[in-house]
Symmetry: C2
DNA sequence: TAACAATAGTTAACCGCTTAACTATAAGCA
DNA sequence: TGCTTATAGTTAAGCGGTTAACTATTGTTA
């Protein structure tokens, strides 16, 4: 591996000059530039990033932190789409992505993560942090590592999807179809801030329509398809007459549909089902799922943009990304209205 | 940020001693160990990884390379599961993961990737490379970067799933159910080595049963759900009497089922459908998908193990991982046999 | 023409850690 | 006791870049 030294010798100049040429720092002639570039070319020189990192105090690496809970990172298609957005932006800025999936324990993220954060190996962090417990943010704040959070998190630059509005739109739509007997599948309260917001949205609209959502049969899942199956079963046991199920993510909605179909009912003819997230398979599910698209790649992209702004010593403003209701055929007017 | 120097001063010893204690290199007393550790504790010292990398010539980073084609990385659930396996193994060994998704052009992977490879910033690479064009491996081999390939690739340490056997098992199973009029949805030949193997497996078993697979209606998709929908439509146009569809990945199988159901037929009563991959949603699809599980996390894990073996100057043996046929309800005996 | 500024390039210190080479002390052994 | 050997710790030279401080040259201006 040729070094700067080698290039300098080969080109007959000093290392400082080579460095200047390569980093385009003023004060060299076109002639030396050519000499240097030729030497670089001939030797196949590529700067050693570790040396550069040590010297500059910057690594050109940003860490993408997905806390390891419910092994969500590797199961949740949405997370992947966010990553896609981050990747696109980072690549464009010439940054590399380090993937970190800290394990969360009662007293915070694991040691490996805490060391990474302080190791000077990363210029910044984009964290997915919607979970109240054991925040991965705290160590970052403490060590003043530039970071952006995707999720609801006070006192940090953040990118949020407008989950409140999403919840509102969902309830608005289901009510507008004419449903009155609605079941809810959500997750335990305060398990996830985003879900809290969605629930707030649902409640607000229900209230505006003079309905107390506390009266609606509600069961709790854990985001997974199976928990959706179970949830639907529980709901239909609670109330046989439900005409619509609002599930606060798509996978639970898919599970719910499954249970409904298997129990001999049809979607949406007998029961309407709506999800949330618009994961890639939602459009091609059977029936295609009515859901809320939260523009995951854009979330990732915005987060990366915020981070790069911070790294350039600008002060970005937090972002609240709009969501879009996607009406598909899994939800329709109840039969009583037909 | 305190440095080794600071710790040394604080503990009243030399930097060499501190370094030795921390890296557990022989020749220090328990007493000095305690002194050093206390100083580390009190100062909250964490080693600077860039400096360590420069000095040691090792970064403790391995790159996971998923070439950016058909944006598969961010859509294919299987890729994610492989990543999961890699992550688990890497975390355990104290390595960090760098995610690289090089764009492929006619003359190889993009420049950013080629520089990364030579930058000395990564100790090794795990690459997903089943695609004949523009190999990401070549630069690695040229620069002697330790690497492991997941996929069929000559002249490199590799982890392969036994796609040939998978193809065999699939055809064996469908034939054993009694199907004789079988349609195939695959991808264009030589687009992906793994798929080639699966097709070889199908053909071999067909031949053993005295059937020429070339006679079976065959159409080509691109892995996506929509291409499965289209593929099924084409197949059923070619031959109304098909009783089984073999799709060489799950997403196309899901698309096929969708088309079949939408066109008023039932799965498996009218037409059986089988997929390949056993992606997370296959089990909870409606109907649950008969498919082949290729143990994706294990692939990732094995690849990581091979890489760590190489990094420890051992010579690992390439791995061919077995696959498992998962019979579920999307495939059954044809009605003619009932 | 002298004084000064701008330009082109060099030297060497520095980033923070590792480690070979070295010194000092204690232990082992004939 | 004297000599070797193992142990404990230190010094200082890298690793490969960046950059402040410096020198040398050319151009500008009064």
């Amino acid at each position: 591996m040729p070094t700067l030294q080698d290039v300098a010798r080969h080109a007959g100049v000093s290392t400082a000059t080579v460095s200047k040429v390569l980093s385009n720092t003023p004060y060299f002639t076109e002639e030396t530039r050519l000499k240097v570039m030729q030497a670089v070319e001939e030797l196949g020189y590529v700067p050693n990033l570790a040396a550069r990192a040590l010297s500059r105090g910057k690594t050109q690496i940003i860490a993408v932190v997905f806390p390891y809970i419910y092994d969500a990172i590797f199961t949740d298609p949405l997370v992947l789409r966010i990553l896609e957005g981050i990747e696109a932006e980072a690549t464009q800025h010439g940054y590399n992505l380090l993937l970190s999936t800290p394990r969360l324990t009662a007293d915070g993220p694991d040691a490996h993560y805490r060391r990474l954060v302080q190791s000077g190996y990363i210029d910044g962090v984009i964290a997915l942090d919607n979970v109240p417990v054991a925040s991965v943010i705290k160590p970052l704040r403490k060590k003043k590592v530039p970071h952006v959070v995707i999720g609801y998190h006070e006192s940090a630059y953040s990118v949020c999807s407008d989950d409140y509005s999403g919840g509102r739109q969902l309830m608005e739509y289901i009510l507008s179809l004419g449903h009155t007997r609605i079941g809810i599948i959500t997750v335990p309260i305060d398990m996830n801030y985003a879900l809290n917001e969605r629930v707030r949205g649902l409640q607000a609209v229900a209230a505006e329509h003079g309905i107390d959502m506390a009266r609606m049969p509600t069961v709790y899942g854990d985001f997974s398809v199976v928990s959706g199956i179970r949830g639907a079963a529980e709901l239909l046991e609670l109330d046989q007459g439900l005409t619509a199920l609002i599930c606060l993510n798509d996978r639970m909605a898919m599970g719910a549909i499954q249970h409904i179909v298997q129990s001999g009912r049809r979607v949406p003819q007998d029961i309407s089902v709506a999800g949330y997230d618009d994961i890639p398979t939602a459009a091609t599910f059977s029936p295609p799922l009515t859901t809320v698209n939260q523009h995951a790649p854009e979330q990732g992209q915005m987060a990366a943009q915020l981070l790069f702004a911070i790294l350039n010593h600008k002060t970005p403003t937090p972002v609240l990304l709009p969501v879009t209701l996607i009406p598909r055929s899994s939800a329709a007017a109840p039969r009583s209205l037909e």
